[in-house]
């Protein structure tokens, strides 16, 4: 179970991305973080905390569940149907610059679903993508604007992101599991 990012590396990556976001977006007034459930949410919250620390601005943060927008509702005869969780976006997206946050970027299908979902909530002025790990193997024309670490993988491997808030520790591992991550 090779560790590709330890707790220190995860923490520094998130801090660096927060700096990059501030660097590239002059005026943080219209920014908002939207984390994709489950592990995009704590990453989004950490980014918001860093931005507050650095720039002294409170950036609104929401949580998005993309289950109802997936393209594989009945496409997986084995394996459980995903459980629907609450979407919590307590602010308007109209005219906002959205930073969409997820843990792993793989096929791009989750992001496709998330973009559909976001558009249903309003008309953001722009959407950028933040991921902790980009493992390649895209099936759609989607790329990340901010990447914690590029991790070359094979499709047979499984990338596991663990976060303090949900799993008790920060860590990214690549496991040689048949079938790989979704």
């Amino acid at each position: 179970m090779p560790v590709v990012m330890d707790a220190d590396r995860v923490g520094r990556s998130i801090a660096r991305i927060a700096h990059e976001i501030l660097e590239r977006n002059r005026g943080v007034g219209d920014l908002a973080f939207i984390g994709i459930r489950a592990r995009g949410v704590p990453i989004a919250q950490r980014l918001a905390a860093h931005v507050k620390q650095i720039a002294g601005v409170e950036v609104p943060t929401g949580a998005l569940d993309i289950t109802l927008y997936r393209d594989d509702l009945t496409g997986h005869p084995v394996g459980p149907q995903p459980v629907v969780r609450r979407t919590e976006i307590p602010f308007s997206l109209d005219g906002r610059h959205i930073l969409l946050v997820d843990d792993v970027l793989y096929t791009g299908r989750t992001i496709r679903a998330a973009l559909d979902a976001l558009i249903d909530f309003g008309r953001p002025s722009a959407i950028q993508l933040v991921v902790l790990v980009d493992r390649g193997h895209r099936e759609l024309p989607i790329r990340a604007d901010y990447v914690g670490k590029n991790v070359p993988t094979s499709r047979q491997e499984s990338v596991q992101v663990r976060l303090q808030e949900l799993d008790g520790r920060d860590e990214v591992t690549v496991d040689p599991v048949e079938g790989g991550e979704r």
């Binding site: 109802l68 927008y69 995903p82 459980v83 629907v84």
Partner: protein
């Protein structure tokens, strides 16, 4: 939360009788996510795009039919409505023939209400579509019980240990049966009360306490659920008069004062004001009757979504 189920075990929802507690919990948890969709500017998600749902209603229904229709539309399913009047059913077609005709149009789900108990069970054995029971005779009305449980949980934060009193026309009530099954399964303490002429056989087997006085039933209750006096099913002489019924079994503010201080009042609708419930109660601060209607859509969305994952 119980050991979490992530899907329903059957591809039909015929009654609460076939649901385990973890499946009930899954429906309630999923409904919570569905409820949020109703608060958005665009109240629609693409989940059931391209699926066809037939609403087959052999009995008059307004809120259940509209609630299912809205739930289907919010999930982007295509919906067809069949009601008894103005369809081939009124020309004497049998249930089986109606079902086979519909089946030939390849629907994914059939939502069905019928005056005969067990009609949806019968259909589930001959149809490829998922069958959702929207009320069968005097038997079950599972989505009503699920939305009632969702509403109770929303207000009380739990189901286990709550004292729930279900009062009224018990013998004709599929709402009672489904609610009694669900609430006892989830650990609530259920009391049923009604006139002796409207008590069904075997009520104790549902795990509920039976009372024949409304005051005894309301005493200390956390939830008071009133049932409609079903005049259309009164083929015998069950009640001397509705005036007398109100005097003896109507829920008035005075009677309600015996319940727990933060008790809520529920009614599956449609209400007979001045028969089983006083207007002052129905419109009072205890009443969650309109929450029940709103929650019905979210719960039915949850059921449709969960069944869609079980299609063959």
């Amino acid at each position: 939360m119980t050991t979490a189920a992530t899907s329903l075990r059957s591809r039909h929802l015929l009654g609460i009788a076939g649901l385990e507690p973890d499946e009930i919990q899954l429906v309630l948890d999923t409904a919570l996510a569905m409820k949020e969709i109703g608060t958005r500017a665009i109240k629609k998600v693409p989940t059931l795009r391209g699926r066809t749902v037939v609403n087959l209603f052999f009995e008059p229904s307004t809120r259940t039919r509209l609630s299912f229709e809205l739930a289907e539309k919010r999930l982007s399913a295509d919906t067809l409505g069949v009601t008894t009047s103005g369809s081939s059913v009124s020309k004497g077609e049998t249930l089986l023939d109606t079902a086979r005709t519909l089946e030939a149009m390849a629907p994914d789900v059939i939502v069905m209400r019928h005056e005969s108990s067990g009609a949806p069970h019968h259909l589930s054995r001959v149809c490829k579509a998922s069958i959702v029971n929207a009320g069968d005779g005097m038997h079950e009305h599972p989505t009503q019980a699920l939305l009632d449980a969702f509403t109770i949980h929303e207000r009380k934060g739990r189901l286990a240990g709550l004292r729930v009193s279900i009062i009224g026309d018990l013998v004709h009530s599929r709402v009672l049966r489904s609610n009694a099954l669900l609430l006892t399964r989830m650990g609530a303490i259920v009391t049923a009360a009604g006139p002796a002429t409207l008590l069904p056989y075997g009520l104790d087997r549902l795990g509920v306490q039976v009372k024949t006085s409304i005051d005894e039933a309301v005493d200390g209750a956390d939830v008071v659920m009133m049932l409609r006096v079903q005049n259309e099913r009164m083929r015998g002489l069950f009640l001397p008069s509705v005036r007398e019924y109100f005097t003896v079994f109507g829920l008035t503010p005075e009677r309600l004062s015996r319940a727990a201080p933060d008790a809520i009042v529920m009614h599956p609708g449609p209400m007979n004001r001045g028969v089983e419930i006083d207007s002052a109660v129905a419109d009072g601060p205890w009443s969650v009757i309109l929450d029940q209607v709103a929650n019905g859509v979210a719960v039915r969305m949850a059921v449709l979504y969960l069944l869609a994952g079980n299609e063959e």
